[in-house]
Point group: C2
Chain length 169, copies 2
DNA sequence: AGCTGAACGTAATGCTATAACAAATCCTTG
DNA sequence: CAAGGATTTGTTATAGCATTACGTTCAGCT
């Protein structure tokens, strides 16, 4: 029962066993607080969508989410999932992973809303890492070309510590 | 006639007027040399695909390329374009832009094969920037989480110098 | 109760990408 | 040169991702 606590500020934790019920409900609480502040509504579909994403540290495709929603009595057409996902993304509660055409719950809403993503190619789990220093360098490189960076996609594919320890190639 | 020369090492140039015939044919020459070294063949479809990408500094969707190829007597089914594009990408002659689901010619084959991309949201042109320093920081950040980066997608969306000068918002 | 705007549901469609297979071409090697 | 294997091109079909358009429902307000 005394599993280690998930600390969103520690990306390594996402790849290791942790008290997932805790990290999941913490994110849900943070989400509710955040939306209340913004005056936005966490309706049943939206809430359920977030819960589904929170069940794992993996990224899920929109249709995978849709299947789950449909099975639970929500609509079964693509816009149902896309709308809920888009709402979550635009309110900082989830992220879209360009490389995977997929979505993942934000594990630390209210902190760094444009993290770098670490995607393990072996276990498929996704962690968020502090992107500020990376962005800073990118902005410098771009500035040298007279380019002003507004948004940046930073996604790393590789091997997480757990999988490396287990001897994954 | 004496337009300024395009220097692939200077990303700003991609966004400015330059002797595009030169930068295009230079890339084509470099491509041929490179493939010869690798023992790969630049067949007609592949060559034409590269030329099409080289016509602009923009990224093109696979179907946009396909339309052009079909109009010129090549096959008109998706795999025709996807195969040629995949060949170019895997041989370092073109890049795929995750954010746009599109492809752009590599303007400096044989140099930095995993650049950062600067995508102007106003003129849609794409430049390649030196990604090494950015990757270095990203690897450090990831290493702190025990994650080993193998490949990284780094794409910046923003405003290029030319568009900023023209007063684009 | 009646109004209004947000949210939800469905149908239809478009865009992106790949699997599977057949025909043509190239490159050996005898 | 002929035979055989590998590569390339082409086609059909289908899978996977995403959006447009439109009607209905529902919360919140007057």
């Amino acid at each position: 029962m005394s599993d280690r606590l998930y600390q969103p500020s520690d990306p390594a934790a996402a790849f290791q066993p942790h008290d997932h019920r805790h990290c999941s409900s913490a994110a849900l609480d943070a989400a509710e607080a955040r939306l209340a502040r913004q005056g936005a509504r966490l309706t049943p579909v939206r809430r359920r969508t977030l819960e589904i994403l929170l069940e794992s540290h993996r990224a899920m495709g929109a249709y995978e989410v849709l299947d789950r929603l449909a099975a639970e009595g929500f609509g079964r057409q693509p816009p149902v999932a896309y709308r809920a996902l888009e709402f979550l993304v635009s309110h900082g509660l989830a992220h879209r992973l360009q490389r995977l055409n997929a979505f993942a719950a934000c594990l630390n809403p209210g902190h760094d809303h444009n993290p770098a993503f670490l995607i393990c190619r072996s276990c498929d789990r996704v962690a968020e890492a502090e992107a500020a220093p990376v962005r800073a360098v990118l902005s410098d490189v771009a500035a040298a070309a007279g380019f002003r960076v507004e948004r940046a996609t930073i996604e790393a594919l590789g091997l997480c510590a757990s999988c490396a320890a287990e001897g994954a190639a």
